[in-house]
């Protein structure tokens, strides 16, 4: 399959890329890992007249903790997250997520920024970033602004990014003591999109009371979903089998799955319930130091 013709730019500074984006606006597409965009172009579902390849811009692939955040540069490859000691030790939910995206070959090119900016409700990072309360950094010619991930996914394949902005980084608040999270994905085979995916991140105080809960859902609605009702239910409660069961039920009610070849909507809704309970249970085990 051959994509339609396009003009190609490979800027080597962010300013140059932003200038091109400003010039061509919605006629242009940014190319990062290309693992979603290139297949879409080959199928001619995406037909940009201009492709702005941001891979040659230095400094967009930094992964580091600073100022109370884990900052993940937009060009950080999934394979780099998977291999990072810091991520594995302190952000196991991000490790869980990175290692089930695509397959190992895809992950050598696929980027975190692309996974979010593409805004496919079937992508895995959005749910995790919702659970973590992350924010994305949108950079334009006028400067940077931070957008909470909870306000980022506005519609089907649509984000709060303006046409002339580039998603340059993702910031995850450094978790408080007593925090843990997990991402659980049900998939038919490696490389497939999730039938259902659930991200859960919790913080518990020394007495076992949940002081913060974040829950995000993959591929059960037109956008990634943040389950406010279940989060509110858990806040201030003891995390135990009862409260986890109730939260899982609320998550299932919040989901808006559509039937497709991966299953009926009833099946998917029930899988949200099952997987939410599993994700919360694992998050609790990690928060209390029972498992890595």
């Amino acid at each position: 399959m051959i994509p339609p013709k396009f003009d190609y730019f490979a800027p080597i500074t962010l300013h140059e890329a932003l200038t091109l984006l400003h010039q061509y606006g919605s006629e242009a597409k940014l190319l990062s890992g290309g693992q979603s965009l290139i297949p879409l172009m080959k199928l001619r579902l995406a037909t940009p007249a201009y492709l702005i390849d941001i891979n040659r811009i230095p400094g967009l692939d930094q992964l580091q903790e600073r100022n109370g955040f884990l900052s993940i540069g937009a060009l950080t490859r999934e394979a780099d997250l998977e291999r990072s000691e810091l991520v594995r030790a302190k952000y196991s939910i991000v490790y869980d997520t990175a290692r089930v995206i695509g397959d190992p070959l895809v992950r050598n090119l696929a980027t975190v920024g692309g996974n979010l900016a593409h805004a496919d409700p079937a992508n895995d990072h959005p749910a995790t970033m919702l659970a973590l309360g992350a924010e994305v950094v949108a950079t334009g010619l006028a400067g940077e602004r931070a957008i909470p991930v909870a306000e980022f996914f506005t519609d089907f394949f649509t984000t709060a990014l303006r046409p002339e902005e580039i998603l340059t980084a993702i910031r995850i608040p450094v978790p408080a003591a007593g925090s843990g999270g997990a991402y659980v994905k049900l998939e038919r085979k490696v490389g497939d999109f999730a039938i259902v995916g659930v991200a859960a991140h919790v913080t518990i105080d020394p007495t076992g009371i949940c002081t913060r809960a974040g829950i995000g859902l993959t591929n059960v609605g037109p956008t990634p979903l943040k389950v406010h009702a279940a989060e509110a239910l858990l806040q201030g409660k003891r995390l135990d089998q009862d409260s986890i069961t109730q939260a899982a039920q609320l998550a299932a009610e919040e989901a808006r799955p559509e039937a497709d070849l991966r299953g009926s909507s009833e099946y998917k809704r029930d899988m949200v319930r099952v997987l939410t309970a599993r994700a919360l249970t694992r998050a609790l085990q990690r928060a209390s130091g029972q498992v890595a």
């Binding site: 399959m1 013709k5 190609y8 693992q35 190992p104 895809v106 490696v190």
Partner: protein, 161 residues
């Protein structure tokens, strides 16, 4: 639509060509450089028959534009054999019957080679994990795993002898 001049090192040889931006890297390898060892399987980023190493990392060359490889280093299946000697990973596929129809083989070889570069003694589980993005339509996975294990053993022996 402007074309672009690219310079890319393929199997140790500097190559230069004028390419249309939409030319996929796998087509560049097969049609421009006439390196037809790299196969096109599904053309949809699923099967891994087109796997090559880009700066040492295995990637699917059907999901990369040739113009993106300007200045980079690529290894294809043609680059495994050295001075008439099969690489241990190739020898392993031969010894362990790691191929049936052979279509997935170039991709399996490249992924197996890349795995052994950073893991000299992979477990069966690690091999399965590494090749999970390479599909064998003959379902000959058991012998493919044995072939990678053979190569790992052979390379380790070579290092200690």
């Amino acid at each position: 639509m402007a074309t672009h001049r690219i310079r890319v090192t393929v199997n140790g040889i500097a190559r230069e060509a004028e390419v249309e931006p939409r030319l996929l890297f796998v087509h560049f390898l097969r049609d421009v450089l006439r390196l037809t060892g790299t196969h096109i399987g599904c053309d949809t980023t699923h099967c891994g028959a087109c796997t090559v190493l880009l700066d040492g990392k295995p990637i699917k060359s059907c999901t990369l534009f040739a113009v993106q490889t300007d200045g980079r280093d690529v290894l294809t299946v043609e680059g495994l054999e050295q001075n008439g000697q099969l690489h241990p990973i190739q020898e392993g596929f031969w010894q362990e019957h790691g191929l049936q129809c052979g279509f997935c083989t170039p991709g399996m070889l490249m992924t197996g080679y890349a795995l052994l570069q950073h893991n000299a003694a992979p477990t069966e589980e690690e091999i399965r994990w590494a090749i999970s993005g390479n599909l064998c339509r003959c379902t000959g996975y058991v012998n493919i795993i044995k072939a990678v294990q053979y190569a790992a053993e052979k390379i380790r022996q070579g290092e200690t002898s």
